[in-house]
Symmetry: C2
Subunit: 455 residues, 2 copies
Amino acid sequence: MKFYTFLLASGLFCSTVNAQSVTDSQQVARITNEVLLNGTAYQNLEYLCKKIGHRLSGSTAEAKTRNWAVQALKEAGADTVWLQPVMVPKWTRGAESLQIKKGKETIKVPMLSLGNSEGTKGKVLEAEIVCFETMEALKNAPETLLKGKIAFLNYPFPAHFPCTFDGYSEVGGNRYNGPAIASKKGAVAFVIRSLSTGVGSYDLPHTGVMSYGDAANKIPAIAIGNAAADSICKWVKQDKLKAALKTDCGMQGEVMSYNVIGEIKGTTDRYITVGGHYDSWDVGEGAHDDGAGCVQSIEIIRCFKQLKIQPKNTIRAVLFANEENGAKGGRAYADSAVAKKEVHTLALESDAGGFSPRGFSLEMSDTEVRLVNSWKKVLLPLGLYDFDREGGGVDIDPMRKKLNTPLAGLVPDTQRYFDVHHCEKDVFEAVNKRELHLGAASMAAFIYLADKYFN
Amino acid sequence: MKFYTFLLASGLFCSTVNAQSVTDSQQVARITNEVLLNGTAYQNLEYLCKKIGHRLSGSTAEAKTRNWAVQALKEAGADTVWLQPVMVPKWTRGAESLQIKKGKETIKVPMLSLGNSEGTKGKVLEAEIVCFETMEALKNAPETLLKGKIAFLNYPFPAHFPCTFDGYSEVGGNRYNGPAIASKKGAVAFVIRSLSTGVGSYDLPHTGVMSYGDAANKIPAIAIGNAAADSICKWVKQDKLKAALKTDCGMQGEVMSYNVIGEIKGTTDRYITVGGHYDSWDVGEGAHDDGAGCVQSIEIIRCFKQLKIQPKNTIRAVLFANEENGAKGGRAYADSAVAKKEVHTLALESDAGGFSPRGFSLEMSDTEVRLVNSWKKVLLPLGLYDFDREGGGVDIDPMRKKLNTPLAGLVPDTQRYFDVHHCEKDVFEAVNKRELHLGAASMAAFIYLADKYFN
C-alpha cells in the first residue's frame, strides 16, 4: 500500500458534540497520547516474561513476581503498595510422558497434564484408548466400554465463530468436566484434544484447569495437540491402540500467596479496582495470559499520575494471585472489601489478552449500562465500539456477588488468543507494543469516565 | 484466562430483526463458516510468500506470480481467467551501502534506496549530513545550507494516533516529496528516517516510493531505520558528520506486465470488482502488502463457487500489477473498462494488510453510503463497525475518476501494519490465519450484499 486516505474518524473536535463530551474527548486524547507515546507497559511485560517467566501459584517465580510488581507499582507512582495475603493451592507438574503403542511402533506424543490433575503415582499407566468425537458421546458411553481404558475426547475447537471466545465457551467445559465424567465411567485416564485454534501451535498441547467434581477416582488428565489428536483418531479407527502414560504431577496442599495492590488516593472514600492476574500456567511466559492485564493495570496508575489526574475514587491496580487453578486471589480481595466495608464504584479486569481493544463487556445494572453507552462517541476513536457482551472476569466476579460492584472487562480482538493460550507460544514476542498500549489507554479512558460519572 | 462469559453478540437470529435481514444474516453466517473452516487464502499466501517471495514490477518473480495467480484463480473456480496487458516502470535496486564517517570511525548503516530513486552512477558520493527535524525546516532551509550536502529528514512516525494510517497520512508525503525539495535546494542526496512504528523492526529501513517531481537533478534518496536515525541525529549535534553513499539503483525504462483477472459470470451485464495488488517491494515477502489482498480476493471466488452463490453482477477478482511504484495496473483496468463500456456496480480493494477486519472505507454517493450503513447489523457479528472512513484504494481509484464507480476498501486493524510495511519483516509469519480469513469473509459478505442491493 502506498497512499490510503483515511479521514480522522474520531469526531474529537467536531462541532456537533456538546461541551461536556469535548472535554471528555480531550481528556481521552491526552490519555491516549500519554500511553501510546510514553507507556511503560511493554517494557514491564518484557521484564516479567524474560527475567521471571511463567509463574504458577506457589512457585518461586510467583514469589519473584510479587517483588517485581511491588517495585513496578512504586515506579508507576502508586501512593501506597501492599500485599494482601491469600492461601492458594499448589500444584506441580513434574516429569511427564505419553507414548502411543501402535503395533510394534512406539510413538512419543507431546503432552501437558491438565492443571490440578493427579499423576500416575510413580507408575506407568498402560491402557487401551477409546476415542470420542463429542462430549455427548462420552456422556452416553456405556460403562463397559470405558472400564480400565483411557478416554480420549477428540472434539476440535469450534473455529467458525468470528469471536473465538464463543468457540471457547462451547468447549471449555469439556476440559473442566471431562475427567470427572470419564472417571465415573471407570476410565483410568482422560486425554483431551487441546482447545486451540493454533496454526503455529497446531502440534502443541495447551493446558488449563480441570476438576474431579465428586468423582471418587482422581484419574490423570492430560491434553495433546491437534496434530497428535488427528493421528490418534485415525489410528484408533484402524486398530486397537494402547497408550503408556507417566505423569508425576499432583496437588501439594495450600501455601501462602498474596495479591499485590497499588493505589492512588482519591478525594472520596470510594474505590475503583483495575486488575489482571499475575499467576500463569507453567508453560510459555504468561505474556497474554495475563502478564498483559497486569502491566496494563500498572500503566493506569502511571498514566493518571503522569497526567496529574486526581480521581474522586481511590484507584487500585490489583495484581491477583491464583486465577488459573483456584481463583483464590479474587475471592480474597472481595472478602477483604466486605470485611472493611469498602464501597466499590466499579471493577475492571483485563484477562483476554494484550490484543487491539474493541470494547468492554459489562456486568452492571441497566441504568449503568446506559451510562457506559453514553460514552460511545468519546471512546470510538480508540476503536472501542463493542459494549454488548456480558461479564467482567474471573477475579472481579466475587465483587459482583458479594458487593454488587458494577463490573467491566476489556474486550480485545480475539483472533490470535487461542493460538497461544495456555501453551508454550504465550511469550513476550507474541505481544505487540501498540496493541498492548492501546488496550491500556482504553482502560485508562474507561476508568477516567467511570470515576467521573459513576457513583 | 480460564472462563470468560461472552454473550453471542451477533443478534443473528434474534426476534427483533426483520425477515430480510434474517436471510442476509444467515447468508453472511454461511459465508463466514465457509471461509473460517475451509478457506484457502492462508495456504495460497504461504505459496506466494515462500515459493515466490517478493515481486517487484518487471522482475522474474513478478512473472512467476502471474502463473501462480492464474492457477490459483482456476482452482478457486473462476469461470474465466485472463491477463490484461499493461506497461509498467521497471526499477532495480542493485548493490547499495551507506557509511557514516564519524571522526576516525566508519559506521555501516542498514539502508534501503527509496523506490524509483536514481543511484550514485557507479561512484561513492561523500558529503556532509545536514539534519532536519521537520519537513517545514527542510522547506525553509536556505540554499546555502544544503548546497553539496546530504539532507537528512529525521521526523519520526507520529505514534500517538490510535489509527496508524492517520500517522502515515501525516508523513507519507515527506518520503514522496522530500527528495525533490532537497534536490532543488542543491542537496546531493536525501536520507529519510523510515516511516515505521516498529519495535521488532526498529533498526530496519523501510522503503517506499518517491518522486523527483519537476526537480532537474535526480539525487539518490534512501531510508534508514529508527535506531540509525537516532544515532545520526545525536552525532550531528556533536560534530560535523560525513556520509559515504553508493547505490546502483535506477529506472530501467518500461516493460510489459499484466493484471491477472478471474471472474464468475453474473446474470446481468454489470460488474463488481474485488482486488489487491500482486507486485510488492523487493524486501520481505510482500505478505501483508499486498499478498493478503490478493489471496483474499481469490477467496471470494472460491467461497461464492463453493456455496453456489449465483451473483447478478459478474464478480471479478483482479490482481493488479505495479501498485507500488507506478499504479499502472489500476489505471489500465479502468481504461479497459471505459473502452469496453463496462458498467461497474462496485469496486472493493484490500490493501491495508491481512489483519483483523474492522469495517470498510467508502467512496460513493450519500445514498450509497446510507445503503451500506443499513447492513451494519448484518455485518457487526464479524466485528465490522467502522464505515466512516473515506476512500477505496490506489488501484480502484481510477474507476471512481473515470467511471464514477462506487468504491470501498477493507479497513483492518492498523496497529501492526507499519511495523512490517515495506521492510524485511513483511513475511508470511507476520500474518495470522484467522485474521486473514476473517478479512476475506468480511469482503465476501460485503460483496454478497452489494451484489444484492446495489444497482
